[in-house]
Symmetry: C2
Subunit: 218 residues, 2 copies
């Protein structure tokens, strides 16, 4: 019965997500849904991307958190339009939370929208929001077995960003084994290796984001 | 409506959890519900505890994972009784999943039962399983802002284990600020700082576990 309820919820969610996407497309806004475990580096990746791409693209952010506005404050300090959603008990953003947030953003003046989901490697994989691509951030300290343990999230990803590669000398993490597990689930996914701390790999990631955003707008 | 469904589910869950606890108490089994983000070190902490306490207590483990039996295999290699629960789409263990697992364990011959929950800092805080204490493991690379962002989990904890302290030289994590945030939510919680990699702090943690298990059995 619980699974039936979940099915009804995700089907209603998909309808609203499709409507969100129409709104974004009408305004030529390219949207990324960023998902990860707590503390894997979603906000850090967004801040690095803002820093590199703000001269060529107009950016905005929707921040999803169970509680607090810590992350939205960090985006606001950069002078980038941001909307904070606090989900309370809910373990994921859902499409119906995104709709009113889009009304609060100057869409006609945005090229690239980051939607930072709640830190959770399970539930957000079930809920489309209207995004064009799903980005999963996986960090070195979490371990290389995460694709095997959380297969839906890694199957749903269009892009996987392996963050905190600066910690590789201090942590047992087999990059080849991680990549092999991902390829078994999702052979066509694009993978970037980055450190949001040192900036390693960020250029390649930003180049992909910029190309995709311009392709979507053309 | 979704919140109403959730309330009905958690209330039914509490009834089953109370029954699980009666079964555990009847057999003088002390049970810990271990919760954390993915990759924070739940299995590593359990393995370290098995290593130190197996000569004085009879241990067993229930492993909760969305998918895979990677963790159960690690426990099994130690010759410790283990039951794997794969939750599929469900983002948390629930009391009704624990009941049949208890039937599979030699309860009359167990002093200490670890229940390793699904890696998730949100949903497991909502579901009692029948445990005597809730243990939250929080790791240095996740960042010191997690209590503020996931307040329910840190409010519900009886014990918090800060893991991966060996990484402190390489990561910006303010232990005092983390402790202050926790104390604001949960002033009486017990906090241990450990490294499951180097073994630092594990003796103090095991001493607490052993004392509590013996107190419960007496």
């Amino acid at each position: 019965m619980k699974i039936e309820v979940l099915k009804n919820i995700t089907s209603a969610n998909d309808t609203i997500a499709a409507r969100n996407k129409q709104v974004l497309d009408r305004h030529k806004v390219f949207a990324l849904n960023c998902m990860s475990s707590p503390g894997a580096g979603k906000t850090s990746l967004i801040l690095q991307t803002i820093d590199r791409l703000r001269s060529e693209l107009k950016l905005a952010v929707i921040e999803g958190d169970v509680a607090s506005k810590i992350d939205a404050d960090k985006i606001d300090e950069q002078g980038i339009p941001v909307v904070q959603i606090n989900t309370g008990a809910a373990c994921s953003l859902e499409a119906q939370m995104i709709t009113p947030s889009l009304d609060k953003l100057p869409l006609e003046n945005i090229d690239l929208l980051f939607i930072e989901n709640v830190g959770n490697l399970i539930c957000p994989a079930e809920f489309a929001l209207g995004e064009h691509k799903k980005v999963v951030i996986s960090s070195i300290p979490e371990g290389d077995d995460k694709p095997t343990k959380y297969p839906l999230m890694f199957s749903e990803a269009d892009v996987i960003v392996i963050n905190k590669i600066d910690l590789l000398p201090h942590i047992d993490f087999d990059v080849a084994s991680f990549r092999k597990a991902v390829e078994g689930l999702n052979p066509d996914v694009k993978i970037f290796e980055v450190s949001c701390k040192t900036g390693d790999g960020i250029d390649a990631w930003c180049s992909w984001v910029s190309t995709e955003a311009k392709k979507a707008a053309s």
